[in-house]
Symmetry: C2
Subunit: 388 residues, 2 copies
């Protein structure tokens, strides 16, 4: 059944190979000083940085540089970004990159006018913002996280060995996001594939919950089928604009709250993956891939009807003459074959983890209760060992 819920998502999206020009339409709505947030410099190599700076300058903006955002943005970097924003009284936080930059921009947004330490306030105590926000906008160069149209923000604290996400309220969502599929084409293939698995898992986390079928489940299946279809084209030819554009658009709708409407959600693969990430600093999408199958095999008996539906509707498994368990197992086998075909990392050993880290990863794993089985700490250890 569709439970009760509210929905609002006011992010304006500009999508397409000409979308950067609409930055000219948006900039006049904001003040003069723009904090330009980006990562390790790939945007400088591929020309996106120069193109954006040109538009900012032609709109008379003061640019405050804030580069060097890491793939897993840290609490220390967040404090630095907040300081930059305060010292320069910035009017707009413009993230140029993937989900890391956008997540980081949101974390800065809620922290600039707040006296508390942002890591403690938002990622440990999970408080909500009670201060004026700085508007966030995003120029996306990697498809995967959905951060361009949601209020999620994941920050890592290496000292504390924690990687934690906070989903803020709708007021923290980007005001606008520019989605140009061509900007994602300069990514290394491994990053593209990690993003594709991130998308797929976002959908799974919302799909594998609840006992009833509802419209959200149908939409979830549609998004899964679309990303599976396009991923197989994109791994063969990363320059295929049609595939890359569908992947980008699927990523946005996989995690902008729509398919969670009226549902419980799971998110344990993310909790496990983020704990792996906190210990190994591995790529987010790959950490999810590495723990997914052991986790889904463990919970399958507790949500069998949905795993049967997943098998037949998403993977086209023929149910004739099979038990429900066989159908469900065939679905996970099809998913495993697809994962290997696109080339995701299938175990945490390949991400730098080993048996000696299992306890630390288990310690860093937050256990949630929305999925088909409430895990114990022993279950977490079992999944992690099966993921080695």
């Amino acid at each position: 059944m569709l439970g009760n819920f509210s929905y609002k998502n006011a992010t304006k999206l500009y999508f397409g190979d000409d979308s950067l020009k609409y930055l000219n339409d948006e900039l006049p709505k904001y003040g003069k000083t723009v904090q330009l947030i980006y990562g390790g410099g790939s945007v400088k190599r591929n020309g996106i940085y120069d193109a954006v700076v040109d538009i900012l300058k032609s709109n008379g903006k003061n640019i405050v540089e804030d580069g060097g955002v890491m793939p897993n943005p840290t609490a220390d970097k967040l404090r630095e970004g907040v300081q930059i924003a305060r010292e320069n009284k910035v009017d707009l936080l413009l993230a140029m990159g993937g989900g890391s930059c956008c997540d980081y921009a949101k974390a800065v947004s809620v922290s600039v006018n707040c006296d508390d330490d942002p890591w403690e306030k938002y990622y440990i105590r999970f408080e909500e913002p009670d201060c004026e926000l700085i508007p966030v906008a995003c120029i996306l160069t990697m498809a995967g996280t959905g951060s361009e149209m949601n209020a999620g923000s994941v920050i890592t604290n290496h000292d504390q060995k924690l990687k934690i996400g906070h989903v803020f309220g709708e007021e923290v969502m980007p005001k606008f996001s520019i989605l140009n599929p061509k900007f994602t084409m300069s990514l290394p293939k491994r990053q593209m594939v990690a993003g594709i698995y991130d998308i797929f898992n976002h959908i799974c986390e919302q799909y594998f919950s609840g006992e009833d079928d509802n419209t959200s489940d149908y939409i979830a299946e549609a998004l899964m089928k679309s990303v599976i279809h396009s991923s197989l084209i994109a791994v063969e030819n990363p320059e295929d604009y049609e595939a890359r554009s569908n992947i980008m658009w699927t990523a946005t709708w996989a995690l902008n709250t729509l398919i969670a409407c009226g549902k419980e959600t799971d998110w344990m693969v993310h909790m496990l993956g983020q704990a792996v990430g906190a210990i190994t600093d591995a790529t987010h999408g790959m950490t999810l891939a590495a723990v997914s199958l052991p986790y889904y095999k463990m919970i399958m008996p507790y949500g069998l009807p949905k795993f049967v539906r997943f098998a037949t509707e998403v993977w086209g498994v023929d149910p004739n003459g099979k038990t429900d368990e066989q159908i469900a197992c065939d679905g996970l086998a099809a998913m495993e074959a697809w994962m290997k075909q696109i080339g995701v990392t299938m175990n945490i050993t390949d991400l730098g983890a080993d048996e000696s880290m299992i306890e630390a990863i288990a310690d860093a794993t937050i256990i949630l209760d929305g999925g088909y089985k409430q895990l114990t700490r022993d279950d977490v250890v079992t999944v992690l060992k099966a993921s080695l």
Copy 2:
């Protein structure tokens, strides 16, 4: 291929059997005078009117009555509503009813501060609003039109025998809408079924266009499958909350611009159906149903791959051993069987049309060019005659 597009939809939705209470959260954001828009009085019989008035009064609002909005709101009624809004300097247009009331509220919104005649300006000359808008909100009592989360507004002019829709910009969308599936349960079954077909056809109008498959097509198929599934439950038991809630939620997403993103769209069934409605004043959803199959049979050869996909993905047609034409025909046959099962009107004769009206209906049909076949006026007559 996903073409270039922009997307923004900022309507806040409250969904569920407790959603009316959130009117208390929204009302303080608006001024003191509320124009309460409703239809023929069913909201008075089923208690919704009293519940809403109580909330308005407890929030200190002045209520300006604007009842009597007809199923096909007229240009004359629109002029009357504009006059009411002007004389009372209203701050919020609160529509309580189905798509007719919400469409009408949007038409009033764009016209209050405009000197031109609204019918001429918006529905004949298709101009855009260049004046201050009055905010619109909706308490939905019928699922179908999607008007609760879009900027569309259809108005009928009986003198001119025209029924014309204008899709305004995102600023005309309702600020908030309250969607309580229980409010739809007091509808006569025929109205429920007409709404279900309206939903289905909205999806078809966006699905049957373009040569390439993309994420929007996958989502469209998901919405079709969900509404088909729930419709069969709801016609057996209109009190089934799960089915009615899924139908309501599907209606919203079938026509809030999402599944048109990056696509051409068709809308010829709506043009034909609206022309039938302009001449007969028949229920909107039924006019669409009555002309759909003759239209789709005519265009099928021009969009055969999509009709094949429709057959296999939406209706589960087994393609083995069949030509593409056979598969596509089997899909339309499955659709026809479903239409008869839920009980929509299958021809325009049953809506009060006869052969003598065909020329007048054809005259009132606006021919669009986004579909698989650009119709001629002779084609329109052929479809209408086949619909008798």
